[in-house]
């Protein structure tokens, strides 16, 4: 045999010490180092792409949690808001947001004059455009909720327009404003003056978590309220529908199923369903739950049904693994003292397998929370700006879900929505992190070695 079985060449004649490496040996050592390096490079590439992705998303999404707001006192002119003057809500409802926009603009102008801010190069429309189109509606709701406000002067912090918000965050620049029909550089300079005067500034944006979605014209008002609620409803329903069925199926397959063709068929089915693309479940949901059963489109219930079917194989696989991990001696002992097989399973095996089942279930729910494609098909991508009602009826109301909101914002044209989309991902990843940490803690806390 030669010392180089890999090359098949005759061994080189060694001259000198046996400890001195030959060129052939050196080559093999270099190849060894190289191979090792490939592995390290692969890992470094994978992890650095992950890091780049997370950093870009957090960098772009952080802005969604801060929002440009204009702070100035608003004089609620009774002449405009309550022309009849008797503070009756029924009559004041007739004043539309146009009236409130007028009040806002008047107060804004008054504040500018009072603070001596130069507005010479701006038209009235340019100045009014700094205030978000969403602000009059908010003010109207506030006044209608408390009619005694009319006639008073109240300090208010209203949303600035999306472009101004972008300017404060560096997304909109003087150059881009020149090309943009919605904003001009003069307005941006004006915004700078306002910022110096302390009227305009970035504030924490709690509304991002509570507001419903907003139309294309008002990215600054769009929030995740409906999406978070919709996702929450779906997770509750998935937990209620999917977990009992999954656990029951696992118990049957692990503990009772006779070895026959039917059982084999179920086993193969579960394994294959776990690998079916999620969009196929969306088609199933559309055809069966919406077109056939007539359940309402975009509802959390249909979403949860589809996601449940999708998550079921995951839950079954995790549950079966933890049932199998309970040693047979437990079963033998229970059967030995006269328990029935059903009692053995429900009184002894299941409680011992519970931590594993819980961990698997939480991880399954985490996957379910991020599932997007099937929800697009059952109409959850539709624009929903009403909160779904309270359970149980609310499960049938149109809603949307966190990952779907990410997608629908990403497809809108205004770049302000891209920031929102990234912000929504931060929220989504936050929820996933919590669920995964919970699963890890559960596993650490209750893990048992037999």
């Amino acid at each position: 045999m030669t010392s180089a079985p890999m090359t098949g060449k005759p061994a080189p004649v060694r001259s000198g010490s046996i400890l001195a490496p030959t060129p052939h040996m050196l080559r093999r050592r270099r190849s060894e180092t190289r191979f090792r390096l490939y592995g390290i490079v692969a890992i470094v590439i994978s992890l650095s792409i992950l890091a780049v992705m997370l950093v870009t998303i957090f960098g772009n999404g952080y802005g969604a949690f801060r929002q440009a707001k204009l702070t100035f006192p608003v004089t609620l002119d009774a002449q405009v808001l309550d022309p009849k003057g008797n503070r009756q809500r029924e009559e004041m409802v007739k004043v539309t947001t146009v009236g409130y926009a007028k009040v806002l603009t008047q107060s804004f102008r008054a504040e500018l004059t009072a603070r001596g801010i130069d507005t010479a190069d701006l038209s009235d429309k340019d100045i009014a455009a700094l205030v978000s189109k969403d602000a009059p509606g908010v003010l109207r709701a506030q006044v209608l909720a408390d009619t005694s406000l009319v006639g008073q002067t109240i300090p208010m912090s209203v949303l600035a327009g999306g472009r101004i918000d972008g300017f404060l965050k560096g997304r909109v620049t003087m150059e881009s404003a020149r090309l943009d029909s919605n904003i001009n550089p003069e307005q941006l300079q004006f915004a700078e003056r306002l910022q110096q005067a302390g009227i305009l500034g970035l504030h924490w944006n709690v509304a991002f978590l509570t507001n419903p979605d907003a139309s294309d014209q008002r990215p600054e008002a769009a929030g995740l309220g409906v999406a978070i609620l919709g996702s929450l409803y779906m997770m509750i329903l998935v937990a209620v529908m999917c977990v009992p069925v999954g656990v029951a199926a696992s118990i049957y397959l692990e503990e009772f199923a006779p070895k026959n063709r039917w059982t084999d068929l179920i086993e193969v089915n579960v394994a294959n369903l776990a690998a079916v693309p999620s969009i196929v479940f969306g088609i199933l949901g559309l055809a069966v739950f919406i077109n056939f059963a007539g359940l309402p489109q975009s509802s959390s219930l249909v979403g949860a049904l589809v996601i449940s079917l999708r998550t079921l194989p995951t839950v079954i696989i995790a549950t079966r693994a933890s049932i199998r991990a309970v040693p047979p001696s437990i079963r033998d002992a229970a059967l030995g003292v006269g328990a029935s097989r059903m009692q053995t399973v429900f009184h002894h095996v299941l409680p011992l397998a519970m931590p594993g089942i819980l961990t698997g279930t939480i991880l399954g729910l985490a996957v379910a929370l991020g599932d997007t494609a099937p929800l697009l098909l059952i109409g959850m991508v539709a624009f929903v700006d009403n909160y779904p009602g309270t359970p149980v009826d609310g499960f049938l109301d149109p809603a949307t879900a966190l990952p779907v909101q990410v997608y629908s914002w990403a497809t809108r044209s205004d770049p302000a929505f891209i920031e929102r989309s990234n912000g929504a991902i931060i929220v989504l990843l936050g929820f996933l992190l919590v669920m995964n940490v919970a699963a890890i803690i559960l596993r650490r806390r209750f893990e048992r070695r037999w």
Binding site: S3, P5, M6, R28, R29, S31, E32, R34, R36, Y38, G39, A42, I43, S46, L47, I49, L50, V52, M53, T56, I57, V245, A248, A249, I251, Y252, A257, I266, V270, N272, L273, A275, V276, P277, S278, I279, V280, I283, A287, L312, P313, I316, S340, M342, A366, G370, D371, A373, L377, G379, V392, P403, V406, Y407, A410, T411, I418, N422, I425, L432
Partner: protein, 486 residues
């Protein structure tokens, strides 16, 4: 009583049944549980189940049947034009339901009294305006027939609700009475309860099968409807994809298949080497401490929803490739391209390949490695010439599974690949896939009679068959390989 309230009532009755059944069993046994066949709790469970199950069955059946019956009865009141086609009938029934709901609301808000609502006639009242007062906006004025149908719909629904309550409660009470009647020391309550639980377990485990059946049935029936309208051969061999909802669309499948396969190919070129080298390093070289950190870190990639990768493709990878590679080389100026989607899908498949390959490499017996070291081979020579060949079938299985995932991936391609169906070799051009077109054809306003919508089901079926086939082959390969060492 609403269905939900009825459900709560049934559950309360079941609880009562549990207590009564237990108490009665104890009483019949003279207060001594030893005289009973089963433990006392089983008599309680038996009574509860007997109260609950038949009542629930009746409730569910009623909820399914009632709308069908009412629709048929109310339908006779509609003008003949509404009965001609299914679509016209559905639209007319929607109107009827909306008016009925408006009348309900009007009564609830006190705008009308109950008798008003069932008596008003279009000849004397402007129904549309009255309903607008309570916030029910109607598209057109209410016709005489629609109003009559809506009033009849309301009456029948109210009647149905009363009938439902009576029937369900009667069945629940009958079940309870029967359970209590048979309860006695000799009654084998445990066997009965366990049989019911067993039935529930069997049903639960059949849901997996039902799902598959549902998937196949739903896609097959709609696909057949599609192929009745659009020739089979033109779909599978057509080279142009240009759907047009006005008719005259060309729905050739080949460009979509090409896009799907091209993107999957790019993704496999990324995922397989990176995933495989990661797995080799983790399985053969890494110290336990490194492994304990790196393995979970790689698996974080698998835990991130694909829509996040989609946004990453759209926002970062696409523009990067366009500005640094495609545009300078004159290969195109589109941010979304085969390359963008392929790269990103490749990244999200890395942990999938690496963790499967890692398991397979770890399953290769240590004796093989030791034998190789004994012959003087270095570690890399052992991996390349002994471990990898031994693990090859399993790794092939893992690669096939990753390919099936790449083919079925939706969000990344929807956001990063573009929407134009093209047959081109340039990887920097936007192309599209089957999944993107399924989403495209099925979202928004859809008409489930037109081939442009139905084609999505044919695409779905093809996708299902393709991924399932890959998976069956992969599972087979993995299983075969496992047997070698066990």
């Amino acid at each position: 009583m609403t269905a939900f309230f009825l459900l709560v009532t049934i559950l309360i009755l079941a609880l009562v049944g549990y207590i009564l059944g237990r108490v009665r069993a104890m009483a019949r046994a003279g207060g001594d549980a030893r005289g009973l066949h089963s433990l006392p709790n089983y008599y309680g469970w038996h009574a509860a189940l007997m109260t609950m199950l038949p009542a629930l069955a009746v409730l569910i059946l009623w909820l399914i049947v009632q709308p069908v019956v009412i629709e048929r009865k109310v339908g006779t009141l509609l003008p003949p034009a509404a009965l001609e086609t299914d679509t016209a009938f559905t639209l007319a029934m929607d109107d009827v339901r909306r008016v009925a709901k408006g009348l309900d609301l009007a009564v609830a808000n006190g705008v009308m009294t109950d008798s008003d609502a069932s008596m008003i006639r279009t000849e004397f009242t402007d129904v549309r305006e009255r309903l607008a007062q309570v916030g029910v906006a109607l598209g057109s004025n209410v016709s005489k027939e629609t109003l009559a149908a809506a009033q009849s719909y309301r009456k029948l629904t109210a009647l149905g609700a009363v009938g439902r309550t009576i029937a369900v409660l009667a069945v629940a009470l009958a079940g309870l009475a029967w359970a209590l009647a048979v309860t006695g020391p000799k009654f084998r309550a445990r066997n009965r309860v366990e049989a019911i639980i067993m039935g529930a377990l069997v049903i639960a485990s059949s849901i997996a099968i039902l799902t598959t059946v549902g998937i196949i049935w739903s896609m097959l029936s709609e696909s057949l409807a599609f192929f009745r309208q659009y020739p089979f051969t033109e779909f599978f061999f057509g080279l142009t994809w240009s759907p047009n909802f006005k008719g005259g669309s060309e729905l050739g499948f080949v460009p979509l298949l090409w896009g799907t396969l091209y993107i999957s190919l790019v993704s496999m070129i990324v995922a397989v080497p990176l995933g495989l080298f990661t797995a080799i390093y983790l399985a053969e070289y890494a110290s336990p401490a490194v492994r304990a950190v790196v393995k979970p870190a790689i698996e974080v990639i698998a835990g991130i929803p694909t829509v996040v990768f989609g946004l990453f493709a759209l926002m970062t990878v696409g523009p990067l490739l366009r500005d640094w590679i495609a545009a300078p080389m004159g290969l195109g100026n589109s941010g979304s391209s085969v390359m963008t989607a392929g790269l990103v899908i490749g990244i999200l498949n890395i942990p999938f390949v690496s963790s499967l390959a890692d398991d397979i490499l770890n399953a290769v017996p240590q004796a093989l490695r030791d034998g190789s070291y004994g012959l003087g081979a270095t570690k890399s020579e052992t991996v390349k010439q002994v471990v990898l060949p031994a693990a090859l079938p399993g790794i092939m299985g893992a690669v096939l599974m990753a390919a099936s995932r790449a083919i079925g991936e939706t969000m990344v391609v929807a956001m990063g690949a573009g929407a134009a169906a093209k047959l081109s070799l340039n990887p920097f051009e936007a192309m599209t896939t089957m999944t993107v077109k399924i989403v495209g054809q099925l979202t928004g306003d859809t008409d489930f009679a037109s081939p442009e919508t139905l084609v999505a089901f044919a695409l779905g079926l093809t996708l299902f068959v393709l991924t399932l086939g890959l998976n069956v082959v992969a599972l087979q390969v993995v299983r075969k390989y496992k047997e070698q060492y066990e």
